[in-house]
């Protein structure tokens, strides 16, 4: 009872701290990942990716089903004065008689044919003949658009070639330009679509990560308020000191959030090339390993920062509803960089961008956007923001543990600001 604590007690305290934090972390992790809401939320995104890929395949696949395959072949019935049979057409264009075309249509071998009347080219009208009423799909629209372009090219050639225009000129009239992107340093050229995708993806990526941080912090908030409302917390505190209890919760629920994010990243890495083949530009996007590692680091630090704050909110709030209201404020603060997204797109060197990257509560979202938009990793800013976030995490965790300990047992009572401040400043 008197004198300093014996060394054996210190060792026991340390070992006990780790053991208890591990038990709490393991239990909270398993309990969270087994929740229906968690499983649903975790799988929803990959399923969404797959659905997007599937939809894309279906949209593009209108031409892959049925008898007509490849490059949207077209059947033309030519009744005009222009002899289209003399035009060198791609294999996809077939010239048929009216009877042959109708027979093919009735047999279901083709979806439609195009009747070029005798009035053409005096009148520009061309008839599209279809087999009757049937469900119209987006695939049909895409195929007919391609057929229309092919028909126009064929008719142009049919007009120009008999007039003695050299075939090379005809070709240039039909396809006047083909733009190829090059860079000064011979790097791989980026397509226009990829550039658009690269502007959109960082925001989607940042939003996803910030959302994930708040979902994970929300688990923590829910766990603390639930134990407070169920009156389990005092039994827990009689077995586990507040610091390992809070540490265990932060680690366990953080691991659950990280599991979710890693599943999402894996799904994105698998799905992006697949979708990219269907959706122009996405396939050209390259996500470097350094980017992924830094994203995970920012996720972890961002979660630890908000997790510590949310644990304290859970301890302070009289109930779950109040806790959600208090935490909403921090949710708004965290997405401030997204509100300034136009500035990030136009001027990454802006002082506002730099400040947002250094302020701990906005650093995660700001740095994720900077990393996604910047052609090279801004090492100085990364170091500054990591230091700022780390210092904040340490201070917030200590303050939060003190608030946690001082206010957790105030059932149904909102502690005064003075009490919260004195708890943060107290050494014990």
């Amino acid at each position: 009872m008197s004198g300093p604590m014996p060394a054996t007690d210190h060792a026991a305290e340390g070992a006990g701290f780790l053991r208890l934090a591990t038990i709490v972390a393991r239990r909270d992790y398993l309990r969270t990942v087994r929740r229906r809401g968690y499983i649903f939320g975790t799988l929803l995104l990959p399923i969404g990716f797959l659905a997007l890929f599937g939809l894309s395949a279906v949209l593009g696949g209108g031409t892959t089903t049925g008898p007509i395959t490849g490059t949207s072949p077209i059947v033309i019935v030519d009744a005009s004065s222009v002899d289209l049979s003399t035009v060198e057409t791609p294999g996809a264009v077939r010239i048929m008689s009216e009877a042959e075309a109708e027979a093919a249509l009735r047999a279901g071998e083709i979806h439609e044919f195009y009747r070029v009347p005798a009035t053409w080219p005096t009148q520009p009208d061309v008839e599209r003949v279809t087999g009757g009423s049937s469900a119209f799909s987006l695939g049909d629209a895409q195929r007919r658009e391609e057929q229309t372009q092919l028909l126009a090219a064929t008719l142009r050639a049919g007009l120009l070639l008999p007039a003695g225009v050299p075939p090379e000129t005809v070709t240039r009239v039909i396809v006047p330009v083909r733009i190829q992107a090059v860079t000064l340093d011979d790097a791989a050229a980026t397509s226009d679509a990829a550039m658009v995708a690269s502007a959109i993806v960082p925001f989607a990526f940042t939003l996803l990560f910030v959302m994930s941080i708040f979902i994970t912090s929300g688990y923590l908030l829910q766990s603390v308020t639930e134990e407070k409302e169920n009156r389990v917390v005092e039994i827990l505190l009689s077995s586990v000191p507040s610091l390992p209890l809070m540490a265990g919760k932060i680690i366990g629920l953080g691991a659950a959030g990280l599991t979710q994010v890693l599943i999402w990243i894996a799904a994105a890495l698998v799905a992006l090339p697949l979708i990219g083949s269907q959706v122009g530009g996405l396939g050209d996007l390259a996500i470097s390993p350094a980017m992924i590692i830094l994203a995970v680091v920012y996720f972890v630090l961002g979660y630890l920062a908000f997790g510590a704050v949310f644990a304290a909110i859970g301890a302070i709030a009289p109930g779950n509803r109040e806790a959600q209201q208090y935490s909403g404020f921090f949710g708004f603060v965290a997405v401030i960089p997204i509100i300034f997204s136009s500035l990030f797109l136009t001027d990454l060197q802006s002082p506002v961008v730099t400040v947002l990257a250094i302020i701990p509560v906005t650093a995660t979202a700001a740095m994720l956007m900077i990393l996604a938009l910047s052609p090279t990793v801004p090492v100085g800013l990364v170091v500054l923001s990591l230091v700022s976030l780390t210092v904040f995490v340490v201070l917030a965790t200590i303050a939060s543990a003190r608030v946690f300990r001082a206010t957790l047992l105030l059932y149904g009572v909102r502690p005064s600001i003075g009490r919260i401040v004195s708890a943060i400043l107290a050494r014990d």
């Binding site: 009872m1 008197s2 604590m5 014996p6 007690d9 026991a12 305290e13 006990g16 701290f17 053991r19 208890l20 038990i23 709490v24 239990r27 309990r31 639930e226 134990e227 169920n230 009156r231 389990v232 005092e234 039994i235 827990l236 505190l237 009689s238 077995s239 586990v240 000191p241 390992p244 300990r405 047992l409 059932y411 009490r419 014990d428």
Partner: protein
């Protein structure tokens, strides 16, 4: 020899609270409180609402720390190293509502140092012991209040604790279940555990507790065995039932006044005389004594008098 005695005394003491103080805001909730709890003893911790009982128990458990003073628990400072040897049933208690009760007890056991498999087996055994064998997989939300309370007390004794602190353990229980849980507490004491029981039921305190600690306003008001405390408030009277008992006060040196009533005889003792003196004098007569008891108020009355500031409390404070 002295050191051996001192060591032996220290080993016998599960809890030593020495002049602890705790202030919340501008209120001193606990003021210079000192007491001990011995191993194998059931200490009744009494006091009106707001007396500082829960705060004191939380300080023993290291949930909060005293501003001043010292606490020794199971031979050392309160903390992680000793928490695995303590069982605690708080007044505001609960279980995870959407978790099977056996899983909750298993978790609590693991937090108190048990291996998971060992903890699950022990949880199953204890729940079966109190008739909850069919409800192991039931969630707490599906249990009746009585079942809830039995499960909670079982959670407290999961780890065979050396120190058990229970706050109003029988509150709201029907008599059958209350007796069942009293049996559990007494068996823990028989096993050698020190038990600190806070209760407002003076009947339970009088029949179950070896010693009583009554606090009010954060200060110790009464501290001692139930007979000693009742004796202090007895007004120096003894009640006797028997045949041929002389009722002339001048025949007794230890008695100042005798008043027979309804077949009982009330002896008022002289200053300095004890019930033992009267007993010897009665034994020297031809009277057949059927019942000899200290005419003392029951614990409820002692409680009220002590809290009201009866100066006799000082003798057993």
């Amino acid at each position: 020899m002295t050191s051996t005695v001192a060591t032996s005394a220290a080993v016998d003491q599960a809890v030593v609270v020495d002049d602890i103080w705790k202030r919340f805001g501008r209120v001193d909730v606990v003021q210079g409180l000192s007491f001990e709890v011995r191993r194998g003893e059931l200490l009744g911790f009494l006091g009106p609402n707001g007396a500082g009982k829960t705060t004191t128990m939380r300080m023993i458990l290291d949930i909060i720390r005293p501003d001043r003073g010292r606490i020794s628990v199971l031979g050392g400072e309160p903390g992680v190293a000793r928490q695995s040897r303590i069982g605690y049933l708080p007044e505001d208690r609960g279980l995870y509502r959407d978790v099977p009760v056996v899983d909750t007890l298993t978790y609590f056991g693991a937090l108190r140092g048990m291996r998971l498999s060992e903890s699950r087996a022990r949880a199953t055994e204890l729940l079966e012991q109190v008739g909850l064998g069919d409800s192991l997989r039931k969630k707490a939300a599906e249990l009746s209040r009585g079942m809830h309370q039995k499960a909670q007390l079982m959670a407290t004794v999961m780890n065979e604790p050396d120190l058990l602190i229970v706050d109003e353990p029988f509150q709201g229980l029907d008599p059958v279940n209350a007796e069942l849980l009293k049996g559990v507490l007494l068996s823990q004491r028989e096993r050698g555990a020190a038990v600190v029981m806070s209760t407002h039921d003076m009947g339970d305190a009088q029949t179950l507790c070896d010693r009583i600690l009554l606090i009010d306003g954060g200060r110790r008001v009464l501290y001692g065995t139930v007979p000693d405390i009742r004796r202090a408030f007895s007004d120096g009277a003894v009640e006797v039932i028997g045949q041929g008992v002389p009722t002339d006060a001048t025949l007794y040196r230890s008695v100042s006044h005798i008043s027979p009533m309804d077949g009982r005889i009330r002896f008022l003792l002289r200053d300095g005389a004890t019930a033992q003196d009267l007993f010897r004098e009665l034994a020297a007569t031809d009277a057949i004594v059927e019942r000899f008891s200290l005419d003392a108020p029951d614990l409820s009355e002692v409680f009220l008098r002590a809290v009201a500031g009866d100066p006799r409390a000082a003798a057993v404070a």
